[in-house]
């Protein structure tokens, strides 16, 4: 493999991984606090993509490619983030909150239910045919020394990087972020310390869902949007979260990028057939769970006896 080819795969892997990372953050944040997998997360991403698509089409109207389409794209992204944030909070309030003290299976089952409701409602409302973004940007690829880079890829990298850095700053530096970390360490103690745990949980869902919306829109730049798109992407993002050590925010970012690279290089270098590309993620999952179930950066959690 030539150096140019290597950088080509690296670039493709990084963009894919950036998206996985954004989505993985939602899984990991919710798991960190509530200790359960939000199965509906992938479907929130799908809803986010749809909202972004619709809002963009509406704003753009007939205007030609240019500054306005550029701005509309970001407005659409913002609207989608806010709507999905609210959706995530709503789902938590209705379907998960009543189950906080229930058995461990209960919220999981409820989440599977929510996932089903979301994806099938979308199929019902938006139709079963897939849609595409109505090109917001000039996507003519740029050739840098044999490496072909599309403006979409640059956009994806920049947006996901900005999102991740802001999240990291938010969690590390703000009061709310501190409250989140406290809640994930020990919910009861956090409550005794005067932290409004309900608000923290709502906020976690809002942020996670908003990031998923961004992920959904970024995917929609290059791939089709359809009602069950969230299942496979969601699953892979979950794998990324597990690889990084579920509950660990930096781990999720790292895991997402690693998985993106593994998939791209797996197909390109190891010659794994594209039809079985999705299987790579599960292979990684099984291996990680067997060898290091707490993930690369996770803490070993042992039940106190």
């Amino acid at each position: 493999m030539g150096i140019a080819e290597f950088f080509q795969h690296l670039m493709n892997g990084l963009t894919l991984g950036g998206i996985y990372a954004l989505i993985a953050l939602g899984y990991t944040m919710v798991y960190g606090i509530l200790k359960f997998i939000n199965f509906a997360h992938g479907d929130i991403l799908m809803i986010g993509a749809y909202i972004g698509l619709f809002v963009f089409d509406m704003l753009r109207g007939d205007s030609p490619l240019g500054t306005w389409t550029f701005i509309s794209f970001f407005i659409a992204m913002l609207v989608s983030m806010v709507s999905c944030g609210l959706l995530g909070m709503g789902i938590e309030r209705i379907a998960y909150k009543p189950l906080r003290r229930a058995t461990r299976l209960a919220p999981l089952l409820s989440a599977i239910g929510v996932s089903f409701i979301l994806s099938n409602s979308a199929a019902w409302m938006f139709g079963t045919q897939s849609r595409k973004f109505n090109y917001p940007f000039d996507n003519t690829s740029i050739n840098i020394g044999g490496v072909v880079i599309t403006p979409h890829q640059i956009l994806i990298l920049v947006v996901s990087l900005v999102m991740m850095i802001s999240l990291k700053i938010f969690v590390d530096k703000t009061r709310m972020g501190k409250a989140m970390r406290a809640t994930s360490l020990d919910q009861d103690t956090a409550m005794l310390m005067g932290i409004n745990v309900n608000r923290v949980i709502s906020m976690t869902f809002a942020i996670g869902s908003a990031l998923a919306a961004v992920g959904g829109i970024l995917i929609a730049l290059d791939f089709k949007v359809y009602s069950s798109m969230g299942t496979m992407i969601g699953l892979k993002a979950f794998v990324a979260a597990v690889v990084g050590g579920i509950g660990n925010i930096s781990g999720a970012m790292f895991g997402g990028i690693l998985l993106g690279l593994l998939e791209t290089f797996g197909v390109a270098v190891l010659g794994i057939p594209t039809g079985l590309k999705d299987t790579i993620a599960f292979g990684v999952l099984i291996i990680i769970l067997l060898v290091k179930p707490e993930g690369l950066f996770g803490k070993v959690e042992k039940e106190k006896v």
């Binding site: 409820s110 089903f116 979301l118 099938n120 409602s121 299987t279």
Partner: protein, 304 residues
């Protein structure tokens, strides 16, 4: 109309077998498995391939389907059983998807997305059980369900059922009571998989063709729904749940409203059932099977 009702009953029977399997894994063992559709598919394809390519009779393919599904149950079970419930759910979900992925892509064996057609009808001592004349087929399916019910019910009322309950309630305490928790989890998985494999076998000879599109994640969720709706840890409830869910999924056709009701209606309803049941009636319609000992007729105090 009566034909349509028979069809619902037959499908209820086939799904009831899967629900019985799900119940031993999830209801008794407390493990959330999301790959009944995968085992179902393995059973179906085993029968389809052995019958069409090697000319085996249905009755010979049946144990093969059960054993192969059980083997896959073991395969997925062993590495994942050390994991906590949530991971298991994802791993099994992934497994189900991989099965479908492979069926779709392994053209030489499974004929890819086209699937396998012209599966011979089962016969018994020269009597052909024709799925188009539904009564005989229904009787066969009911027999299977009754046998599975009796076998599993007995198992659940034995030491094994109690050991699984212990594992579900508290793994650490169960270990300290001398119970080999890994062993029982694997047992539950293998049993649940094998009965789903048998269901797959029946499905293959009922529709006389198999295509990967039949074995989607939706099927796994539907089976889960049946067990949750009826009541986890109760085989009668699982069968009742199966029947209700089947009625719901054919409701538009039954009432002649299929042109009005959107096709996603049933899936949305399944989702709602899961959420609503968890919030208001997590024990299901019938609740867990309770046993009293010592011949006393008094009921246990308190609610589960």
């Amino acid at each position: 109309m009566i034909n349509f009702f028979l069809l619902i009953l037959i499908y209820s029977g086939i799904y009831a077998l899967m629900a019985i399997g799900q119940n031993i894994i999830t209801g008794y063992g407390g493990m959330l498995s999301l790959c009944q559709a995968g085992f179902f598919a393995i059973g179906s394809y085993t029968t389809a391939i052995l019958a069409t390519k090697l000319g085996w009779s249905f009755w010979a393919t049946l144990p093969a389907a059960a054993i192969l599904s059980a083997l896959f149950g073991l395969l997925i079970g062993l590495p994942t059983l050390r994991l906590k419930g949530d991971y298991l759910a994802i791993a099994t979900l992934g497994f189900g998807e991989i099965v479908r992925n492979v069926l779709n892509n392994w053209d030489s064996l499974t004929n890819g997305p086209m699937g396998i057609q012209k599966i011979p009808m089962p016969d018994l001592f020269g009597f052909v059980i024709n799925p188009y004349r539904k009564y005989a087929f229904l009787v066969m399916v009911i027999l299977f369900v009754v046998i599975a019910y009796l076998l599993f019910q007995r198992l659940a009322r034995s030491r094994m059922g109690r050991a699984l309950a212990a594992v579900r309630e508290d793994e650490i305490a169960a270990q300290s009571m001398g119970i080999n928790i890994t062993k029982y989890k694997v047992y539950a998985f293998v049993l649940g998989a094998s009965v789903a494999g048998i269901a797959g076998s029946l499905q293959a000879v009922f529709s006389l063709s198999v295509t990967p599109g039949t074995y989607t994640f939706m099927v796994s969720v539907m089976v889960l729904c049946m067990v949750v709706l009826g009541g986890m840890g109760n085989f009668k409830a699982a069968i009742l749940g199966t029947f209700i869910i089947q009625l719901i999924s054919y409701f538009p056709q039954l009432t002649g409203l299929s042109s009005v009701i959107p096709p996603q209606f049933k899936q949305i309803l399944f989702g709602l059932i899961l959420v609503v049941m968890m919030i208001w009636r997590p024990q299901g319609l019938l609740g867990r099977e309770e046993r009293t000992y010592g011949g006393s007729t008094e009921r246990k105090g308190g609610k589960r």
